[in-house]
């Protein structure tokens, strides 16, 4: 009896040791390259440092300085504009595509393949292509507008059109990704729900509104969270297409931090802006999870 009781616990301890060993590489990385740096950024945000002279503790001054500059507020306006429009637009388009591709159409695999293609391509390469598409004098888009008798647009060169242009390109590149996730969600909805609704004479809109949307809500929630976090980190396409211009019209938060830290070497101020972003993203995610209780239905 004693042997039988002690053997499992010894095995158990052995198993535990193996488990911790298996976790070691990932959690070492987590500590050194994620959690550690998050804390260090907080400390740096209270100091003045240009990477050369020794850092100096200045308290909340970096935050005060940031809040007083126009470019900080402009960056935030741009970022919110970018996040809201690209996430909402992305969800609408990818859901529409997923609904269409969920029909028993011929050539679905081909369509899916084409819509997904931009996802795998390098953002730097396709941003160069889009900069050329948007070229106001010789670009394809203005050529098409001229051909169909519409006035041409200044696209990336104007204060008003630069951000929409960046957003169109971003949706083009990511729509296929969310489409495939939506498709997986749609395929998880059992046919019986629709059959029952048809028996009751439901219209297509009623079926969409009362069956598809509620049953798809966990997928929509997943996409909302991941797309929002992703959109706050937009960088590549903006760096290549506009570099934040014209007149900071497309300067978003990651570009702002990059410029502060690695061009102007204002390490403290850049860290302060990073922490402001981190807090906002944290609160936003909490709100998302809280509001989700009202509209996300887990079957």
């Amino acid at each position: 009896m004693i042997r039988m009781a002690s053997r499992p616990s010894k095995l158990r301890r052995q198993e535990e040791r193996w488990a911790y060993l298996f976790l070691l590489p990932q959690y070492l990385g987590l500590l050194c390259f994620v959690l550690g740096p998050v804390v260090v950024t907080l400390f740096l945000s209270f100091s003045e440092w240009n990477l050369v002279a020794p850092p100096r503790w200045i308290g909340l001054q970096n935050y005060q300085v940031s809040f007083q500059t126009d470019v900080f507020w402009q960056t935030w306006r741009n970022t919110i504009y970018y996040v809201v429009v690209s996430v909402a637009g992305g969800i609408v388009f990818s859901l529409a595509l997923a609904l269409a591709l969920n029909e028993k159409l011929r050539g679905v695999t081909l369509y899916r393949g084409i819509y997904f293609l931009p996802v795998v391509t390098s953002a730097v390469a396709v941003s160069m292509v889009w900069r050329w598409l948007y070229n106001p004098e010789f670009g394809l888009f203005n050529a098409v507008l001229t051909t169909i008798g519409l006035p041409t647009l200044p696209w990336l060169n104007s204060l008003k059109w630069a951000m929409p242009s960046v957003i169109i390109m971003s949706i083009w590149q990511t729509v296929g990704y969310n489409m495939v996730i939506f498709l997986a969600g749609l395929q998880g909805i059992a046919d019986q729900f629709y059959e029952a609704a048809e028996m009751d004479g439901a219209t297509a809109w009623q079926k969409f509104r009362h069956i598809t949307l509620p049953l798809l809500s966990p997928t929509t929630f997943f996409i909302l969270i991941t797309a929002t976090i992703g959109a706050f980190q937009a960088f590549n396409q903006i760096y290549i297409m506009t570099n934040g211009g014209p007149a900071n019209a497309t300067r978003v938060i990651l570009l702002h931090i990059y410029i502060l830290a690695f061009r102007l070497f204002k390490i403290g101020e850049a860290s302060a802006v990073s922490w402001v972003l981190f807090l906002i993203l944290f609160i936003l995610t909490l709100i998302n999870f809280f509001v989700a209780r009202k509209w996300v239905h887990y079957g």
């Binding site: 198993e15 193996w18 990385g29 293609l117 996730i181 590549n236 830290a261």
Partner: protein
């Protein structure tokens, strides 16, 4: 008397008049035609940038600035490709990208599958808490770790080497751990129990039993890891200074800086950068789409 009308309606729906059936079928066919028209227009828009890139990449310098643009270049300048391949050390950039992406992918598959195996098949104290911490780090944006990591790698003299692109990438892949954990959970636990009786330790069980069974999941995750590091831009931009160390996206960006209006060369370079990924994508499409669906299911 109460049940009779119900029976009548049931029979009514079962033996629908033939005319109603054909009209329903006609409606479905009409809807499918409309969907095909919309989907193919959308698909055309998705591949338009790639066609425009190809067309421009084969044009003579002056022909790029003809308005409205011509789709078929005349003459066809294949030499643009040779030119852009040699203007910058593109071959070297290819080798660098292959080296970095291969090492990070192999490494991250190993460390994340180890951790995933521990979470799925072993029992240990703090299991739930450790997993929650891992999931929470998925919401930490790149902005809050960027600056301390740069300082760390500067401190240990890793700037302008490939190490800061490889080591953290191998040791931090929360997403990979999460996905592979889901996969391991789906495999029956009896496999491990049987070999434990045969005297296998947990590492042997992981390596000889579970890993061979999870090749499909590893391939999918591997493709995404490879692509992610292949297309990565911000980190190489920060860590690398000398042209000999550059990766493909970084080399492309310098191309844009150096040849601002030589669109035919820029597009040739972009094509050179995109071709391998697109070719791999066309042959391995199944794995790409499967992988995304896998991640979406457990939102």
């Amino acid at each position: 008397m109460v049940e009779a009308p119900q029976d009548v309606t049931k029979i009514g729906t079962l033996i629908q008049p033939a005319a109603q059936l054909t009209s329903q079928r006609r409606q479905t066919r009409l809807r499918h035609i409309v969907l095909h028209v919309l989907l193919s227009m959308g698909a055309f828009f998705m591949i338009l940038p790639f066609l425009w890139m190809l067309s421009t990449s084969l044009k003579a310098p002056g022909d790029v600035f003809i308005f409205p643009p011509e789709w078929i270049p005349n003459p066809i300048m294949w030499s643009n490709y040779a030119k852009s391949w040699t203007l910058k050390p593109m071959g070297l950039a290819y080798l660098n990208s292959i080296k970095i992406s291969t090492l990070t992918t192999a490494g991250t598959l190993f460390t994340s599958s180890l951790a995933a195996f521990a979470f799925a098949k072993l029992r240990f104290r703090g299991q739930h808490l450790l997993f929650m911490i891992l999931l929470a780090t998925l919401m930490i944006p790149v902005q809050v770790t960027l600056i301390p990591l740069f300082i760390l790698f500067k401190w240990i003299n890793w700037i302008d080497t490939h190490w800061p692109l490889i080591v953290p990438a191998i040791l931090t892949n929360a997403y990979g751990v999460f996905l592979l954990r889901q996969f391991f959970i789906s495999l029956p636990g009896e496999l491990g129990d049987a070999s434990e009786i045969d005297g296998c330790n947990p590492f042997q069980i992981y390596w000889f039993i579970y890993l061979p069974l999870s090749v499909p999941a590893l391939v999918t995750l591997g493709i995404f890891a490879f692509l992610y590091h292949w297309n990565e831009f911000l980190l190489p931009l920060i860590y690398l200074n000398s042209l000999q160390k550059f990766t493909i996206p970084l080399m492309l960006a310098t191309f844009q800086g150096a040849y601002t209006t030589e669109w035919e060369l820029l597009m040739a370079a972009a094509t050179i950068a995109l071709i391998p990924v697109i070719v791999v994508y066309i042959f391995g499409q199944r794995y790409f789409v499967q992988g995304i669906a896998l991640s979406g299911l457990k939102g």
